[in-house]
Assembly symmetry: C2
């Protein structure tokens, strides 16, 4: 296995900062790629051990590029997730004052998070999109724009200074990133895990989605993400990206996945991995009757009934 | 095992006629008992191998005496069921004319099935209830009443004649009888089986019954009987007698029973046995994704995911 992690570049973005929070990143070579697709392809062809990409953002929702890449093509598996709080700094060349700023830039994803700040503080500034927040900073360094919204950490790298920090329209704006590799046995459960799957319905009868959700509800499993994505087969044709609480080695999760496998046209398992947002103690209590022990003793009881011993 | 079957007597009732349709009855001594309870107790104490009692009637619904006996006390198991079409004959002493009839009798269960006929043909006759339809015929023989509603087959036994036959208010009035024994391994599935259970809810939260039914629906299992019975713990406290399509050795039924065992306060298995109302060919097609093969291959797929082989 090549000991390198591909990530959505360039260097100096929130993605790199999030990746460096993972202890295992310290022992790998971290290689920036120009797109989510190219980073994931590096894993698929064996050029990288894993890829680190954004998948969900608390302001905008699922990041469709990443979801669509995981939904299609050669199967990949999620091994880790990282939650990063996103606040922006306004980076300028040293000496620039707020009143000097006529043009600003950043990645388009930054815009909904700085929109109110811009309206209040730079109502007349012209916005142009950059390929990434780090790229925006580089363009400010080169003199193409007066200011860039980026992580404060990017200032030093591009010889800029932060005129303002902590900019975020939404309180608790967070982005979720995932470390994606080729399929292998998932790590053992930690007690606070999630399981990601993609579901394709067999047909579109009334209540079809409720039937899918029923497979989770019947086993007392809480959902953490439900994002529909068009399948490409025409208007109204969707698959569903779902994150559910629990680990595939939990009996209740395994049974729900079996149920989905039976009733769906297709199910893609995207992995079971530790939750970044919860320690064991934070996990909500299971509904009565849905612990592994209860699944196990119920199976014993049915076996006794099948045998006439009751 | 004593080679005798207890049945709800006396001789000459629909129960005896239904029992004699079972091939195995030909090789047993058939012993009438005065009540459902005494017939079932004969099984519980080992006096009889099995008991044959009515359990459901297409006009009135579940026969509560029988359900309550199966719900409580030492567990018993249903091995067979028989469906009998119920039409009544009006039995009189030879020579009696319709205009002679001032008093009629029968078991109270007969009344809803002959009510319209009585109103049309004997509007002024006085009705009194008998302990059984056969007992009513005996009372006519003894001169206590002018006529009795009973099975036509009872005429010969009591020296009576049928003044009218084929009396039934509801078309296709049927009574379902069950052969009940002590728990043992259920007979192998025939392809057209049903499974009976009694369910006690853990608590009475909104949607509690829907949750129970969801355990069947999620596995595509059709219900054939749902009858609530008070638990005796006060108003609003019910248990549910349920007949479901399928055999406990079917994976979908076993999985539903496991689910119920997990979420219910208590589950009593009452047996899996051949359906009297259907041959294999009549059984409704399974919902997609609920065949034994699909349960089996879904389990294989989850095992592969747990192992990272996909």
């Amino acid at each position: 296995m090549p000991a390198s992690y591909a990530y959505l570049g360039p260097e100096g973005t929130f993605t790199e900062v999030a990746l460096r929070t993972l202890p295992e990143a310290a022992t790998r070579e971290l290689v920036p790629y120009v797109s989510v697709q190219s980073a994931l392809d590096a894993v698929r062809v064996g050029e990288a051990e894993a890829a680190f990409v954004p998948i969900e953002n608390s302001v905008e929702g699922g990041i469709t590029t990443t979801l669509d890449e995981l939904v299609a093509g050669q199967p990949l598996m999620i091994y880790r997730e990282v939650l990063l709080s996103i606040t922006f700094a306004l980076l300028v060349r040293p000496g620039t004052k707020l009143s000097d700023i006529k043009t600003v830039t950043a990645h388009p994803a930054a815009q909904p998070q700085v929109r109110n700040w811009l309206k209040a503080n730079l109502p007349d500034a012209l916005w142009e999109s950059a390929a990434s927040n780090a790229d925006g900073a580089r363009l400010v360094q080169e003199g193409r724009y007066d200011a860039a919204f980026a992580g404060e950490f990017a200032a030093a790298r591009y010889g800029l200074e932060a005129l303002e920090t902590g900019i975020h329209d939404a309180e608790n704006a967070q982005t979720r990133f995932v470390l994606v590799g080729r399929p292998a046995r998932p790590a053992a459960p930690t007690g606070a895990d999630k399981t990601s799957v993609v579901l394709w319905q067999r047909d579109d009868h009334p209540g079809a989605l409720r039937d899918l959700l029923g497979e989770f509800a019947t086993r007392g499993i809480n959902l953490m993400l439900l994002q529909s994505r068009p399948t490409g087969a025409g208007i109204g044709n969707y698959c569903f990206c779902i994150d559910a609480e629990g680990h595939i080695s939990d009996r209740r999760v395994a049974e729900a996945l079996m149920g989905l496998k039976r009733i769906c046209l297709q199910v893609r398992f995207l992995g079971s991995y530790p939750r970044a947002d919860a320690t064991t103690a934070d996990v909500r209590p299971l509904l009565p009757g849905t612990s592994d022990e209860e699944f196990s003793s119920a199976a014993d009881w049915v076996a006794r009934c099948q045998d006439g011993r009751f």
